[in-house]
Symmetry: C2
């Protein structure tokens, strides 16, 4: 497919190069970034368009690797300078990581500018970035069916007002447990999520890493454990993979409702469980819908109570 | 009901006095012990008989408190000396605790001697104790339908051979993730559980505290998150409450099968979620089947995927 046609899902976020060290391996020059993982994961279900920026060091091979997933790259700009670079180390059993280096490079001056065709995308995923950039995207899109936004602790502490403005304009917010409590000042997780619902979104999705996720609405809660993976090789991007696959599955299903979101979260969990079994996109690359569906069926048997 | 009649479930384990400090409160002279929590939790579903020992300091009020749950106390002996005493401190968000004092008292020389009527109990729960005592109980029971055993790291390192003998003679083993890995030398959780199945039991139930539990059989896995409780007041005994309620629910249902065990785990999770909302048995005391069923229904709605 050529770039610049209609997309089912517009994803805005970082595209980067990662260097990662785990207790078992050390790898660099890895394709990374939130929009990268999210688009690759979404591509198994729907046509994603990526909005981001890379430096002139990114190279055509990496772009080709993204295109091979079926990702539309009309929204990926190349600018003079270095691609966003992140380097991190995972400890022990992969549940803690520390950042060694973050070099924003061309991402520092990133201003999202959506290709015309993306402005009518029915589904939009705003990756974790400065809330002002998320607001800029919200100003560009026309009548979307469902918009999800991710965020992180940095924006909660530095750009609280703008983040609250984002909340008022999206359908779903994803964040982790600590962030939910930090953003609301509430101690209990559900109380924090309910406080966030007051700020606007119909859905708050709390990410709990290896312990799964929780979807909170004004009337309900949905608790989903993670799919049990015996050996996690690299958890980088698992949250973005989850969110991307969820939005892709939602777009593919065509229905926006809580039951549809629950099913989409199952798909997101399963694609993320594949993703962590190798570095970068290496475990996603050989995947197909049949293998994903096989693990979804397996997962649903693991969750079933008569 | 008078003591010494037939029971649905025989529970063998500790009965003790606890002193507990949390970040919010400090309480002592609390009724505690694995068999105490398990019997109280089971009592909402079936008639439990408690096999244990207390000192002459235990007092008739505490025994009456147990009897008020409908627990048969024919198996509870009183000996000259002190009741088992445990004192512990919970840190921060309740996910870590340290033991201050353990005084075994009369529990040190505990030799389980089941009342005649208990020897025909169809369901048996062997609380966490020296594996030789668990074997002694197994020698006394006649043709049980389902026997579950709990264990802990201490027995894994000091009495490995006897513990493996217990495994060969029970239907279900409960333990936590670290213990499963320690007992088998396997790193991955599912691989560890599968190695334990090789040793005898048809079911291995891995307890994950606030992150729920997992049931592993030769052919399947069942993953169940915890019921989300906003404020945990005291997590002491949550695992025993879970196991007791599960065994009680299984006994009440009359069916021994994996689907029945899954449903019983849901009941166990729910009763444990009530239990942690106050100290000792205080949150279980005012409970009834209707309130438990209400939360089970609520929980199942939280888990449902169409």
């Amino acid at each position: 497919m050529t770039d610049g046609g209609p997309v089912d899902l517009a994803v805005v976020g970082s595209v980067g190069i990662d260097a990662i060290e785990t207790p078992h391996a050390k790898r660099d020059h890895l394709l990374g970034g939130s929009a990268t993982y999210a688009c690759a994961a979404a591509s198994f279900f729907a046509r994603p368009g990526l909005v981001g920026v890379v430096g002139d060091d990114f190279g055509p091979d990496r772009a080709e690797a993204l295109r091979a997933f079926g990702i539309d790259l009309a929204g990926l700009r190349t600018e003079s300078g270095s691609t966003f670079f992140w380097s991190g180390v995972y400890e022990d059993n992969m549940d803690r990581r520390s950042t060694r280096v973050t070099e924003l490079g061309v991402f520092e001056n990133f201003r999202p500018d959506l290709p015309e065709a993306y402005r009518d995308a029915p589904f939009v995923l705003l990756g974790n970035m400065h809330p002002q950039l998320q607001l800029d995207v919200l100003d560009q899109i026309r009548n979307p069916r469902f918009v999800a936004a991710d965020t992180m602790d940095l924006w909660i502490s530095t750009t609280h007002r703008q983040l609250m403005e984002v909340l008022a304009r999206v359908d779903l917010l994803t964040l982790n447990e600590t962030e939910a409590q930090q953003l609301t000042g509430e101690h209990g997780l559900v109380r924090a999520a309910v406080a966030l619902l007051e700020a606007g979104p119909a859905y708050v999705l709390v990410k709990k890493g290896a312990h799964g996720s929780m979807l909170v609405t004004r009337a309900s809660r949905f608790i989903l454990p993670a799919y049990p993976v015996e050996e996690v090789t690299d958890p980088t991007g698992a949250g973005d993979t989850f969110a991307g696959a969820m939005m892709g599955a939602l777009a593919a299903g065509g229905e926006v409702s809580e039951p549809a979101l629950r099913r989409a979260m199952v798909a997101g969990t399963v694609v993320a469980s594949f993703g962590v079994q190798d570095f970068s996109l290496d475990a996603l690359r050989p995947l197909d819908r049949a293998r994903i569906q096989g693990r979804i069926d397996d997962f649903r048997r693991m969750l079933a109570v008569d």
